[in-house]
C-alpha cells in the first residue's frame, strides 16, 4: 500500500513538474530567437565617419568623453550624464548638465546601431549627436571656437596625428558660435567663411572621435539570451538560464497578448522608430512635441548627412533622404528605447515620467489618450499576476 502511494505521489509530482516546463509554439520560438543577442549582426562601418574604426580616434574620443574641460564651467563632460558604471545613464528623470534639461539621459549600449539620435531623432549620426550637448546651454554649454582652441592647446599633437593639420588659429576669437550668446554669434559672424569652415571641421572631428569611442559600447549577454539560446538548441536550461513560471508567463505576454514585441523587436528590443504611446507631459517642463519638431532640426543641422562634414558617399544618407517629414503620427512621437538592462535604470520614458516598471506596464495596459496627437496603443486587460509576470520577464534582460 505504502509503495503504491509513493508511486502515485511521485506520478502527481512529475505531472506538476511537467507543467512548469516551457512549451512554446514554433511561431513563439521563432520570435524568441529573433530577440536573442546572438542574432545581433556585427556593427556596420560608418562611412560618414572615416575615423569610426580607427583605434587612435576612439582613444582620443574616450579621453574627450570623460574630460570635464569639455564644458563652459569645467564641471561637465559627456560622462556626467552618461555614467560608465550606470549603463551610461544617470538615474535622473531629466538630465542635469550645466542646467536641468527636459529629457531623460539615454543609455548607450548599442547606440552606434541607431539610425536616429536623441529621443526625438533630431540628429542622424552618432558623431553629429555627440556635438549637440557640447553647445547646448543646459548641457556642456561651451562654444565652437572655445572647443577648437581647447583641442589645439590640450590635444594638438594627438589631434593632428589622427585628423591632419589644425587650421590657422590667428584671428580666431576665443568664444564664438552660430548657436551661442549674442556676443558669441556676433563674433562667429565676423569670422570669414574659411575660418568658420576650419573651426567646424575641428568641431566635427571632435564628434567623430567621440563616436569612434562610443562604437565600442555594446549590449552584453543576459539571462534571457542564455534562456533563448537553450530554447533554440533544445538544451535543458541550466542554472540562471532556467526561467521561473512567472518569467515564462511574462515572456509569453511580451510576445503575445501584451503586444510589446510589436515595437520592442529584434535583438536590441527596438524597432528604431518613433511612436506616440500617450506618455503624459511633465507639468513644469517646456512644451515637448517629440519627433514632429525634430524634423526641421535635423534638416537644418550643418553636420547632418547631407552636410559638408560627412565623409564618404551620399548613398549613406538614406535615412535622412527618405525621412517622414510631415505626418500626424509624428506629434508627441518618441523613439522606442532598447529594453536591454531596463530593470536597472528607472525612471522611465523620455522625461522620466514613471518611477518603476510596474508604472510603465500599468500605463500601457490603461492606454490613456495622448494630450496631443493620437496614441498608437490600445487598452489591455491584464491581471495583477500578468502585470507582475511582465515585469519579472523584463528583469531577465539584465545580467
Amino acid at each position: 500500500m505504502k509503495r503504491l502511494l509513493c508511486f502515485l505521489a511521485l506520478t502527481v509530482a512529475a505531472i506538476l513538474a511537467g507543467c512548469g516546463k516551457p512549451d512554446f509554439s514554433d511561431a513563439q520560438k521563432k520570435t524568441i530567437a529573433s530577440l536573442a543577442l546572438n542574432t545581433l549582426p556585427s556593427l556596420k562601418p560608418d562611412t560618414t565617419n572615416r575615423f569610426a574604426d580607427l583605434p587612435a580616434a576612439a582613444a582620443l574620443g574616450s579621453t574627450l568623453f570623460f574630460d570635464l574641460g569639455m564644458s563652459r564651467d569645467g564641471k561637465v563632460s559627456c560622462s556626467t550624464c552618461h555614467k560608465i558604471d550606470r549603463q551610461f545613464q544617470d538615474d535622473l528623470p531629466q538630465a542635469v548638465g550645466v542646467g536641468r534639461t527636459n529629457r531623460r539621459t539615454m543609455p548607450l549600449a548599442g547606440v552606434a546601431r541607431d539610425p536616429w539620435f536623441f529621443w526625438d531623432g533630431r540628429r542622424d549620426s552618432l558623431w553629429s549627436q555627440a556635438l549637440t550637448p557640447l553647445e547646448n546651454p543646459l548641457e556642456q554649454a561651451g562654444n565652437r571656437t572655445a572647443y577648437a582652441h581647447y583641442i589645439k592647446a590640450r590635444f594638438g599633437e594627438r589631434y593632428e596625428r589622427i585628423f591632419g593639420p589644425l587650421p590657422d588659429f590667428s584671428g580666431i576669437p576665443p568664444n564664438a558660435s552660430p548657436l551661442g550668446t549674442d556676443a558669441e554669434k556676433a563674433a562667429w559672424n565676423a569670422m570669414s567663411a574659411a575660418q568658420q569652415d576650419g573651426i567646424n571641421r575641428v568641431f566635427a572631428n571632435i564628434g567623430k572621435a567621440i563616436a569612434a569611442f562610443e562604437r565600442s559600447i555594446e549590449p552584453t549577454q543576459t539571462r534571457f539570451d542564455r534562456f533563448a539560446l537553450d530554447l533554440a538548441t533544445g538544451a535543458e536550461p541550466k542554472d540562471d538560464a532556467a526561467f521561473s513560471r512567472e518569467e515564462i508567463l511574462g515572456l509569453k505576454l511580451f510576445i503575445g497578448k501584451a503586444n510589446c514585441v510589436t515595437c520592442h523587436n529584434g535583438p536590441r528590443f527596438t524597432d528604431n522608430g518613433f511612436h506616440n504611446t500617450g506618455v503624459p507631459p511633465v507639468p513644469d517642463l517646456p512644451l515637448d512635441r517629440g519627433r514632429v519638431d525634430a524634423v526641421a532640426q535635423v534638416q537644418a543641422d550643418p553636420f547632418n548627412c547631407f552636410g559638408a562634414y560627412r565623409d564618404g558617399d551620399v548613398g549613406a544618407c538614406g535615412e535622412l533622404r527618405f525621412m517622414v517629414k510631415d505626418a500626424p503620427e509624428l506629434v508627441r512621437a518618441y523613439k522606442t528605447p532598447s529594453l536591454r538592462g531596463v530593470a536597472g535604470r528607472p525612471p522611465y520614458m523620455h522625461a522620466g515620467q514613471f518611477s518603476s516598471l510596474d508604472e510603465v506596464v500599468a500605463h500601457y495596459a490603461r492606454a490613456a489618450p495622448s494630450v496631443e496627437g493620437t496614441s498608437e496603443i490600445h487598452p489591455l486587460q491584464l491581471s495583477d499576476r500578468e502585470r507582475s509576470a511582465l515585469v519579472a520577464f523584463l528583469k531577465t534582460l539584465s545580467e
Binding site: 510589436t262 524597432d271 511612436h275 533622404r321
Partner: protein, 149 residues
C-alpha cells in the same frame, strides 16, 4: 485505518480521471481560427484596370529594419512597358494606426516598365500596405499592395 487509505485512493483516482478528461478536452479543442489574411499577391491589375502592376523586393528577400529598394513594374494591358510615369507612394499599417516609417520614392527608371522604389523600411512584423498613385500618358490609376511579414 484501511478505510482512510481506501478513501484517499478513491480521491486520487477521481483526480486522475479529472486530469484525463481535461487533457482530452484541451488537446482536442480546435486551434484558434486564423483570420483570413489580406491579398498579398505581388502582381495585380490597377484599381481601374489601366495597368498591370507588380511590386517586389529588388534583392528578392525582405529584411526587417533596413532600408530596401523594391521594384514597381508597370505594363499596359497589351503588355507594353509604361514609361515616364509619375508615382506617388503612401501606406502604413492598418492595424496600428500609423503610416510608413519612411517616405519611399520612385528614384530611377530601369527600362521595361520597371521603377526603382527606394527608402522602403519595415520596422515591425505585421500587415503593411503600399498605395501607389500612378500617372502616365495612358492615364492615371491607383493600386494597393499588401505585404505581410
Amino acid at each position: 485505518m484501511a478505510s482512510i487509505w481506501r478513501y484517499l485512493l478513491a480521491g486520487l483516482g477521481l483526480a486522475a480521471l479529472l486530469v484525463g478528461v481535461l487533457a482530452v478536452v484541451y488537446l482536442t479543442a480546435p486551434q484558434s481560427a486564423q483570420p483570413v489574411g489580406p491579398d498579398v499577391s505581388r502582381a495585380k491589375s490597377t484599381d481601374n484596370g489601366l495597368f498591370l502592376a507588380s511590386f517586389e523586393p529588388e534583392r528578392g528577400v525582405v529584411r526587417q529594419g533596413e532600408l530596401e529598394s523594391w521594384l514597381l513594374t508597370l505594363k499596359t494591358k497589351a503588355g507594353g512597358p509604361v514609361e515616364g510615369a509619375a508615382i506617388a507612394i503612401s501606406g502604413g499599417m492598418p492595424q496600428h494606426n500609423h503610416g510608413l516609417p519612411t517616405s519611399p520614392q520612385a528614384t530611377d527608371y530601369l527600362g521595361e516598365g520597371r521603377y526603382r522604389i527606394e527608402g522602403v523600411k519595415f520596422t515591425m512584423s505585421g500587415w503593411w500596405q503600399f498605395h501607389f498613385a500612378i500617372s502616365a500618358t495612358a492615364g492615371s490609376d491607383t493600386v494597393l499592395f499588401n505585404v505581410v511579414l
